[in-house]
């Protein structure tokens, strides 16, 4: 039984756009959402890709908001768009075999930060009873499942910056294997809290200006936030119901560097890319685009470029859309997966924004500042997390 898995619904809610269409328009135009960090004067780095104009009351009742940290709100909003977009007609049988598999690195940070402030600073002795259900990293997945009555396998992966890629890969494999017929897979993150931002400041990897992946003058990453959700189902089911098919999730590869807690390894990255291609049954020559991890840090970019050159010696077009939507941590793979799927579907390769000067240590074909109209037959999207946990998704044009 060869169960090919395809994407039939997309929902995106991030700094670049609060819908799939807004997001794609920004990416195709090379428009970065990075701007002044608002609300945190105590933080040293000045810029971020924050969600602007998020209004919970436009999406949820007051009672629902009591239960939802922003990261779960983002997850639900993106899932709602993805479900609408895929045009599914739910049946009891389909609900029983549909799961929700999400990534989140830090869970309900806003809720946690606010409660810690009440405890340590305000010396409060009583705490809101919803702190635990709001902060748990699977809150988004559980809330999505409850909204649509989905009772198939559902869980949340927390593997730092690779969380969503691990989630989407598992969802694809579970459908391929027959455990699920359909999945809502992706990631969500809302990391903008004082405590969390100060922790990033301490790590000294956030750029003092903007995010310039693969540039000689890159100075670090820029934090982002938001969610993206993909509706996955079998190619046969999608065709049978006449659904729009964006692309095939053809394969996935995962490795661990077992090397260093923050320094990446090109071997681990290259091996994950090769495994994804093997799982997808793709030749390197078929891959025409890589949505890179491309954080814009000193360490990541040359390491990743070395890995790309090792796997694709003939060359391949590469961009890091983190230059536009920032690094959304546990949601990064989902947002970038959506970008990659849309690149295949639209026949346009989104650029690396803010690109200035080529770095000889990053000797790859970077799509600089302007999108390239090009229909490619396959693309990969890479996530290489702190802790050396790598997950690469391979997509095929349908």
């Amino acid at each position: 039984m060869n169960r090919r898995v395809v994407v039939t619904g997309l929902g995106v809610y991030c700094a670049c756009g609060q819908s799939r269409a807004e997001f794609w328009n920004a990416l195709a135009a090379g428009r970065s959402a990075i701007g002044p960090l608002e609300g945190f004067p105590q933080v040293r780095f000045p810029n971020a890709a924050q969600m602007r104009g998020h209004d919970p009351s436009a999406h949820f009742t007051a009672k629902e908001i009591d239960l939802l940290d922003p990261f779960a709100q983002y997850a639900l909003i993106a899932a709602a768009e993805a479900v609408r977009d895929c045009g599914v007609a739910w049946t009891d049988a389909l609900r029983e075999s549909t799961g929700v598999i999400t990534g989140s690195c830090v869970g309900g940070k806003s809720t946690e930060d606010a409660s810690f402030r009440e405890l340590y600073e305000e010396k409060r002795t009583r705490f809101h009873p919803m702190i635990i259900p709001r902060t748990m990293a699977n809150a988004g997945a559980s809330m999505i499942g409850m909204r649509y009555g989905l009772t198939g396998a559902s869980f949340t992966t927390a593997t730092a910056c690779s969380s969503a890629n691990h989630a989407i890969a598992q969802a694809m494999w579970m459908i391929r294997q027959g455990q699920l017929e359909m999945a809502i897979a992706g990631g969500s993150e809302a990391p903008f809290t004082l405590g969390h931002l100060k922790a990033w400041e301490g790590l000294r990897v956030v750029s003092p200006d903007t995010c310039r992946p693969f540039c000689a003058d890159r100075k670090g990453m820029i934090l982002g936030e938001g969610a993206a959700m993909l509706v996955l189902e079998t190619l046969d089911a999608a065709r049978a119901r006449g659904a729009r098919i964006y692309a095939e999730v053809a394969g996935a590869g995962m490795t661990a560097d077992a090397h260093h807690i923050t320094q990446p390894s090109s071997d681990g990255a290259a091996k994950a890319m090769r495994l994804a291609l093997r799982d997808a049954g793709l030749e390197t020559s078929e891959v025409g685009y890589i949505n890179a991890h491309g954080t814009g840090t000193t360490a990541n970019d040359p390491t990743e470029a070395t890995a790309i050159r090792a796997v694709f010696p003939h060359g391949v077009a590469v961009s890091s859309t983190k230059s536009m939507h920032g690094h959304a941590l546990g949601a990064a793979g989902a947002i970038e997966g959506a970008a990659t799927v849309l690149a295949l579907y639209e026949g346009v390769l989104p650029p690396t924004a803010n690109f200035t000067t080529r770095d000889l240590a990053c000797d790859i074909d970077v799509i600089a500042n302007e999108a390239r109209p090009r229909t490619v037959s396959a693309a990969i999207s890479s996530s290489f997390a702190f802790g050396g946990l790598n997950a690469v998704l391979a997509f095929r044009h349908i």
């Binding site: 007051a62 009672k63 009591d66 239960l67 705490f127 809101h128 009873p129």
Partner: protein
């Protein structure tokens, strides 16, 4: 005239559950949680809101035995009497 304990309890429940004016007006001193459609998750949020309002500590056993407004008023008045 100062607010009675019953009025305060009803106000706290209505705010905690985001009730509109009509729903708030329908709460009586004998309303039960079942009648109001309050589930166990709502229940613990109400208990938290009552502790904040009256500055009392409601024991877990007492919190679990609440069935309606009358139980709350009786329990709160007992806790307030113990405090003073």
């Amino acid at each position: 005239m100062p607010e009675t304990t019953t009025e305060r309890v009803i106000r706290v429940i209505a705010a905690s559950q985001h009730y509109d004016a009509a729903k708030t007006a329908s709460i009586t001193p004998t309303s039960t949680f079942e009648e109001l459609g309050i589930d166990s998750l709502d229940d613990i949020q109400i208990v938290f809101a009552l502790e904040m309002e009256f500055d009392v500590s409601i024991p877990d056993d007492a919190a679990k035995s609440i069935r309606g407004i009358a139980d709350i008023v009786q329990g709160i008045e007992k806790l307030l009497a113990e405090k003073s």
